[in-house]
Symmetry: C2
Subunit: 477 residues, 2 copies
C-alpha cells in the first residue's frame, strides 16, 4: 500500500487553503509545496537523496517546517533532535543514527560541532537542482526518527513510518472529528511527536497550523479568545497557565475552538473544572513516541467519573493488560495497531518491538469494568516533567561518572508547576559540593533533567538483586 505524496496531493486538492501561519505571515498548501520542492532541489544539490538519513536540529519557525517538508519530498529519513539536550546527548544520537548530515537552524549552530553540518542559510544559498517529487510514498517508509530513553539509560531511536503517522491522524479524526476550516495551534516542539504529529495532521487533513516559536500563555489565551484556532495540544502545566491567563485577563473562549489534546500525564481535576467553565473540551491522552502520540483518549464527558483514567483506545487501536488480566488487575499495558513503530535504529535495531503483534509499553496499568485504562506506574520509573520524559537511569548514569559519586538513585518528586521533577540521592566516596555535582550534570544532560534536589545518604535501598528501589526513594522525600 502506498499514499499519493501528501504535499503534492494537498497542493492539488486544497492548494488555496492556509497550511501554515506564523506571526503575521501565511502560506497556502500550494505555496508551501512549492517552497518545499525548491528546498528539496537545493538539498539534492548538497548531496541529500532518498537514501540519506539526516538529523534536524531546529526551533519552531517556518524555515524549519520548509526544511522538514523538503525532506518529506526527497524521501530521506529525519532524526529529530531535541534542542534542549546537551552536546553529549546530541552527539550520542548523531553517532547512533549515523545521520549523514546535520541540518541545523542558524540559532542553534553553536550547540554542536559536526563535520557534516548544513545550516538553513546554506540550504537557501545552495544552487537549486531540477527536483521532481515522488508521486507516491510507501506506507512503510520511515519519515521521522525520535530518540526516547528507557531502562538502560541509552536512548533508542524510534522509527515512525508514513503508515504510523497516517493511522494516528485518521484515528484522531475519527475520535474528535475534522472540518475543512480547522486550524491547530502549535506550541509543542516540532522535534517531539506531540508537535511533529500536528504537521502530519496538517498535510493529511488539509488543516492549517498556527505555529509559535515557543509557549506563551498570553498569546495562546488571546488566540483561543479571538477564534483563530480550533485545536491545541497541551500538557497539564501549559493548560494551567493558559487557564490562569484567561482568568486574569477575563477573556472568553471563542465558540470556534473545539478541543485540546492533553498529553504527558494526567491533568488534575481542578484544571478540568476550570477548563469546563470556559467551554474548553480537554481530552486527556496516553501515548508515546513508539505509538506516534495518542493511543487512548478520555472524553471530557467521562473526565469526572473516571478521574485519573487515560480513557479508551482510538478506533484503530487495541489495548490490553498483560496475561489477559481481569478488570482492576494491574500488569503491563500492551498496545496493538497500525500506529505502533516497526522498530528502532542503531544500537537497538535488532530489538523486537512487538510480541505476537502487541507492543509492550513497560507501563503498568489496569482496565476497569467499562474498559477505561488507568496508568498506575510509568515504565522504568519514568518521570514526566512538563510533558518531557525523563528516565532516572539516564541521570544516574551521569552521576556515577562523577569521581566523588559511588552510588546514585533518582526518582520523581511532585511539583506544582511541572507535575514532577527529578530528585537524586547519592552515596559519596569523598566530599563534593552539590553545586559541583549540578555543574557536572549540566555539561552532560539537558537542563530540565537536572535534579531539583540532590541529597547525600549513607546507602540506597536495594532489592535482592541489588537494583535501586526507586519507589522506596520516593518515600524518603
Amino acid at each position: 500500500m502506498s499514499y499519493p505524496n501528501w504535499l503534492s496531493q494537498r497542493a492539488h486538492l486544497s492548494g488555496s487553503r492556509m497550511a501554515l501561519s506564523y506571526g503575521g505571515q501565511q502560506w497556502t498548501f500550494a505555496e508551501i509545496n512549492d517552497i518545499a520542492a525548491d528546498y528539496a532541489g537545493r538539498l539534492t544539490s548538497l548531496g541529500i537523496s532518498s537514501e540519506t538519513r539526516v538529523a534536524v536540529l531546529a526551533k519552531s519557525h517556518p524555515e524549519s517546517v520548509f526544511v522538514m517538508y523538503a525532506c518529506l519530498h526527497i524521501g530521506c529519513e529525519m532524526v529529530m533532535l531535541n534542542e534542549r539536550l546537551s552536546a553529549t546527548e546530541l552527539e550520542y544520537q548523531l553517532q547512533d543514527s549515523k545521520a549523514a548530515y546535520l541540518l541545523v537552524d542558524e540559532e542553534l549552530q553553536g550547540k554542536l560541532d559536526s563535520s557534516n553540518k548544513i545550516s538553513f542559510s546554506e540550504i537557501q544559498n545552495a544552487s537549486p537542482s531540477n527536483f521532481k517529487p515522488e508521486e507516491e510514498w510507501p506506507e512503510d517508509r520511515t519519515i521521522s526518527i525520535m530518540y526516547t530513553s528507557g531502562t538502560t539509560g541509552y536512548p533508542k531511536g524510534v522509527r515512525q513510518t508514513a503508515g504510523n503517522h497516517f493511522s494516528s491522524a485518521v484515528s484522531s479524526a475519527l475520535n474528535i472529528g475534522i472540518a475543512p476550516g480547522d486550524v491547530w495551534l502549535c506550541v509543542m516542539p516540532l522535534f517531539h511527536i506531540s508537535g511533529f504529529s500536528i504537521l502530519m495532521r496538517s498535510l493529511i487533513y488539509g488543516m492549517g497550523v498556527q505555529l509559535h516559536p515557543k509557549f506563551d500563555p498570553k498569546i495562546c489565551a488571546h488566540e483561543l479568545s479571538a477564534g483563530t484556532v480550533t485545536h491545541m495540544s497541551v500538557v497539564a502545566v501549559t493548560l494551567e497557565r493558559v487557564l490562569s491567563e484567561l482568568e486574569t485577563a477575563a477573556l472568553h473562549v471563542s465558540a470556534n475552538f473545539k478541543a485540546m489534546l492533553a498529553g504527558g500525564g494526567p491533568v488534575p481535576i481542578s484544571y478540568m473544572e476550570r477548563a469546563e467553565k470556559y467551554g474548553i473540551s480537554v481530552l486527556q491522552t496516553y501515548g508515546m513516541t513508539e505509538t506516534s502520540s495518542q493511543t487512548t483518549t478520555l472524553q471530557p464527558a467521562d473526565a469526572k467519573r473516571k478521574i485519573g483514567s487515560s480513557g479508551k483506545p482510538l478506533f484503530l487501536y487495541q489495548i490490553k493488560i498483560a496475561e489477559n488480566a481481569a478488570p482492576g488487575e494491574k500488569a503491563e499495558i500492551l498496545i496493538r495497531g497500525p500506529q505502533v513503530t516497526p522498530g528502532y535504529i542503531g544500537k537497538f535495531a535488532e530489538r523486537d518491538v512487538q510480541e505476537e503483534g502487541w507492543f509492550h509499553t513497560g507501563d503498568i496499568g489496569y482496565l476497569d469494568e467499562e474498559g477505561f485504562l488507568f496508568v498506575v506506574d510509568r515504565r522504568s520509573d519514568l518521570i514526566v516533567s512538563g510533558g518531557e520524559n525523563i528516565y532516572p537511569a539516564e541521570i544516574e548514569k551521569v552521576l556515577l561518572g562523577h569521581p566523588a559519586v559511588r552510588e546514585a538513585g533518582v526518582c520523581g518528586m511532585p511539583d506544582e508547576q511541572w507535575g514532577e521533577v527529578p530528585a537524586a540521592f547519592v552515596v559519596l566516596h569523598e566530599e563534593a559540593a552539590m553545586e559541583d555535582l549540578k555543574a557536572f550534570l549540566k555539561s552532560h544532560i539537558a537542563g530540565y533533567k537536572i535534579p531539583k534536589v540532590i541529597r547525600t545518604v549513607d546507602s540506597l535501598p536495594r532489592n535482592a538483586s541489588n537494583k535501586v528501589l526507586r519507589r522506596e526513594l520516593k518515600s524518603w522525600l
Copy 2:
C-alpha cells in the same frame, strides 16, 4: 494489517451514541451490536459460518441492517441483491456467486424460488447459539459483493473488502469532514454501494444513520428543515424533487445540514443554483461499484466555473487519463488507490482488474489544466437513469432472445426526470407488437431497464467489424 471488529469497537467506544433510527425508533451502537451478535448466533445455528457466502435480498428497514451486521460479525461474504431485478437476473447472480444461502426479507419472499432460502423471520425464530465475534477483521476480507454489468451483458460480481470500505470512508471524511454528532439520511438502496457505504461510514465514524424505507421528497425536505440530519446522498432526480418540495412547502434548510453527496451522473447547473439558495452544499461525485463509491468530488465552490466536471480525486486516490494524455485530451479514465476492488467472483474471477496498479474504468474523459476530471463518455455506452446503471448490451441480449427480433441496438435518451432512459431500435424477422416485446422484456429484466421507446428500423448502423454504433443510434432519436 487488520482492524478491530468495527461493531464491537464502536459499541465499546461510542456505545451510547445513536447508530440507527427508523420511523420513531432508535438504536445505539451498543444495542445494535448486541442485536447483531444475537442474530449472528442464530445464523450460526442455521449453518452459516465465516466460510459461507450468502446472498441478501432485502428492503431498507432495520431488520435488514441487523442481518447485514450479523453477517459482518460472522465474517461471511454478502452478495447484495437488487430487489428491482427480475427473477431471471437474480437467479443468474445466485448461480454465478454460488451463494450457499439466500437471506430474504419477508416482503420479498415471492421474488425468487430457492432451495436454500432463509427468511428474516426464520432467522429470528432460530435457536441462538453461543456466538463469539472475531476481535479483528483482516483488511483484505471481502465484506460485500455487488453485481454490475458491462460490455458483455453478463453482470460481474465485484468484491468490496474491509480495506476498500475503510479507505472510502476515510477519504470521504478527509474531504468533507466529520463530527461526532453527524447523522446521514439514507434513502439510497442498501444493496447499492451508495446506500451500503452509508452503513460502513456509520460504523467507522460512529455516525448515526436515519434510514427510510424509500425515497419520499416530502419527508426528506422535512428532515433537512428540522435539522435532524447532517448529510444525505442523492442522485440528480432525487435532489430535484427535494428542492421542489422545499420550494413548494416554503421550507428552510437547517444550519445543522452540512452536505449532499450527488452520484450517478452530473447534476444540472440549474439544480445547483436552486440548492445554493437553500445553503445546501452539493458535492458531485464520480465513482462506481469497483471503487466502493466516490472517487472524485467536485466542491460546491468550483461547481459554477467547472460545469460538467466530476472534480478531483479524494486524498488517497489518483486519477489519470490513459497513455498520460495531455490536458484536454480524451482517453480512458484510470483510477488508483486502496478503494479499488481486488477483483470479481464467479465467471469473471480470473479477470485482472488492475494493470500495473491502475483500474481501467472503460469510461472516457479528460483532465483540464487544473486537473479537474470531465467524464465525456460512460463505459460501454452506459445509461445512467435516476442513479441506476443500465448497460445497453444487457437489454440487447434479451431483445435478441425474442423470436421476432433479428437485430437490436439500445442507447440512452435524454429524460427530464431520470436524466436518461433506454431507447431501443430493432430489426424484425416477422411482425411483432411493441407491447408484446415490452412484456417479453419485463419477464427478463428489471422494470427500470425497459426501453421507454422501441422503434422498428430496416437496419442498424454498424462499424467495419459489425458492432452496433450506439452513438449513431442516439442521433436517430
